[in-house]
């Protein structure tokens, strides 16, 4: 082979700094050909790279060597023995799979909760207050959220769904939990009164019934149906278990500080979902959301429940155990497990955390976990 002449590009000022090297993790190297990638972040944030469904943190690795980006000559004179240095690079960008950064959304959505009736008055009120007030309540659209949040699209969608955030008139608004419970109960009772099978509900019929009889906005009803089942071709396949669970949470939610008797709670839950779905009622659905305690001095012993949602506990393991042991001094393994499900990826990880942060004491009916002394 003839010698190649290695040259600098003829437009070094333009080319310098115009190349970056991005190290691709194995799961991304295939996706890169089809996926839409983007880098997200404000100047004061660490940048992340988002694919359609994943978020990666970008880290710059400084190289002691330099890497030349070399391309064929772009001169038109056809001198094929020239190759051209386009850029000299001293860093490689490394991608580390990371959790989406969504905590900013909570503060952005604060004060924009959607509840029936309250809505219109508030808007008028806000208009009266003038600009000062409205600047605090900036309307956040879905597109805004995509721009602001360091997350992939499908992770954002899942979060909005899990947080029960409605997209109304181009604005993201979390639904007030009590109103959601009301809508779900209405859906269940209407299914019965319209004698519809919950496997195939004509979405339009249900929406009309909710709108006509109970003033539920059609777009609200439709999005709620989307959260609790599958909407396709105008038919809705209801996820009965998910609805029953949410209704149960709605009943339990006020009992954060004052416990409710387990039997009374289950009875209210069954009534709320109606006879058709009473069979789905089970405390297991609410795992990780309640704390049960038994008062054995009563006869018969009285079991009471308090609302303790896992999702509102700290994500840091040490802080999480601190809160759990403040709520109760001793835990059984099967009781504490649901509260660790979102901090430990598997049973092995969970055991490791238990070993690190708790003292295990064999006692009546198995092992009890209590806080480690300092």
């Amino acid at each position: 082979m003839a010698d190649l002449s290695l040259k600098f590009s003829s437009s070094t000022a333009l080319d310098t700094g115009s190349f970056r090297l991005l190290e691709l993790p194995s799961d991304l190297s295939k996706a890169v050909e089809s996926a839409l990638l983007s880098i997200k972040g404000d100047p004061d944030e660490d940048a992340v790279l988002c694919t359609g469904d994943k978020t990666y943190t970008l880290r710059s690795i400084v190289l002691s060597n330099s890497v030349l980006v070399v391309t064929p000559s772009q001169e038109d004179d056809g001198n094929s023995s020239d190759v051209v240095i386009r850029d000299q690079i001293h860093e490689v960008l490394e991608l580390v799979s990371s959790v989406p950064r969504l905590h900013k959304l909570d503060s952005l959505l604060r004060g924009r909760e959607y509840e029936e009736g309250r809505d219109e008055e508030e808007d008028i009120e806000m208009a009266d207050m003038g600009e000062n007030r409205s600047s605090q309540h900036v309307r956040l659209s879905y597109v805004d959220a995509r721009n602001v949040l360091q997350t992939s699209d499908s992770e954002l969608d899942r979060y909005l769904r899990d947080r029960r955030v409605l997209d109304l008139d181009g604005e993201l608004r979390p639904i007030v939990p009590s109103y959601l419970t009301t809508i779900l109960e209405l859906i269940l009772t209407n299914l019965v009164s319209l004698s519809l099978s919950h496997d195939a509900v004509p979405a339009d019929t249900l929406e009309s019934a909710l709108e006509g009889g109970h003033d539920v906005r059609r777009d609200v009803a439709r999005q709620v149906m989307g959260w609790f089942g599958i909407l396709a071709n105008g038919m809705w396949k209801m996820d009965a278990q998910a609805i029953v669970r949410e209704v149960g949470l709605g009943i339990l939610r006020p009992h954060r500080d004052d416990p409710i008797a387990q039997d009374a709670f289950l009875a209210r839950w069954r009534t709320a979902v109606g006879d058709t779905f009473a069979a789905h009622v089970s405390l297991a659905l609410l795992a990780g959301n309640y704390l049960s305690s038994t008062d054995s001095t009563r006869d018969p012993p009285l079991t009471t429940l308090t609302y303790l949602p896992c999702s509102q506990l700290p994500t840091d393991p040490a802080a999480r155990f601190g809160d759990l042991f403040r709520a109760r001094a001793r835990w059984r393994a099967e009781e504490i497990a649901p509260f660790l499900a979102d901090v430990a990826v598997d049973a092995k990880e969970r055991d490791r955390l238990l070993l690190k942060y708790t003292r295990a004491v064999p006692g009546e009916g198995g092992v009890w976990y209590s806080a480690r002394g300092r």
């Binding site: 082979m1 010698d3 190649l4 002449s5 290695l6 040259k7 600098f8 590009s9 003829s10 437009s11 070094t12 000022a13 333009l14 700094g17 115009s18 190349f19 970056r20 090297l21 991005l22 190290e23 691709l24 993790p25 194995s26 190297s29 890169v32 050909e33 089809s34 996926a35 839409l36 990638l37 983007s38 880098i39 997200k40 972040g41 404000d42 100047p43 790279l49 002691s64 060597n65 330099s66 890497v67 030349l68 980006v69 070399v70 391309t71 064929p72 000559s73 772009q74 094929s80 190759v83 240095i85 000299q88 001293h90 490689v92 995509r146 721009n147």
Partner: protein
């Protein structure tokens, strides 16, 4: 703020490819060459010749002759593939400005945001590495410009 990253495996700006001996060190249009230290050039380096690159047909060993210094290189497979990203030049700069004038100031912010766009122009799994210090060549006079390697 979002910086979109496009995927453009074959760049439109050039349809030229490397000779096959070089393609095996990277892709059709991109090769990464790793050097110890860096190339330091004084003055304008546009279009200046750095050295002669040769790939031995039999041993497939690359050598790079810079001035009186010879570098011996080798092919290194990358543990993880590298995507080469290239910033797209705001080629339609003039039309952008016209838009701003026509739409008033409203579009102003958007067009400044749109200016940086990156494309993945190639994904390479290999690189050419010159790991050692250069060997001085005696008795061979190469008339090459003042490019020195530190």
């Amino acid at each position: 703020m979002i910086i979109p990253i496009g995927v453009a495996p074959s760049s439109s700006e050039s349809n030229r490819a490397f000779p096959p001996q070089l393609v095996q060190f990277g892709s059709d249009e991109y090769v990464l060459i790793e050097l110890q230290g860096s190339l330091e050039v004084e003055g304008n380096k546009d279009g200046q010749v750095v050295g002669r690159l040769r790939v031995d047909e039999a041993s497939k060993k690359p050598t790079l002759l810079i001035g009186h210094h010879l570098l011996e290189g080798k092919l290194v497979n990358l543990p993880k593939p590298l995507a080469i990203m290239h910033r797209s030049m705001p080629r339609d700069h003039d039309s952008d400005q016209r838009d701003i004038l026509m739409d008033g100031g409203l579009e102003n912010r958007r067009s400044t945001q749109a200016q940086s766009r990156w494309d993945i122009v190639a994904v390479v799994k290999r690189k050419m590495v010159f790991p050692r210090r250069p060997m001085p060549m005696v008795g061979r006079v190469a008339s090459l410009p003042q490019t020195e390697k530190r």
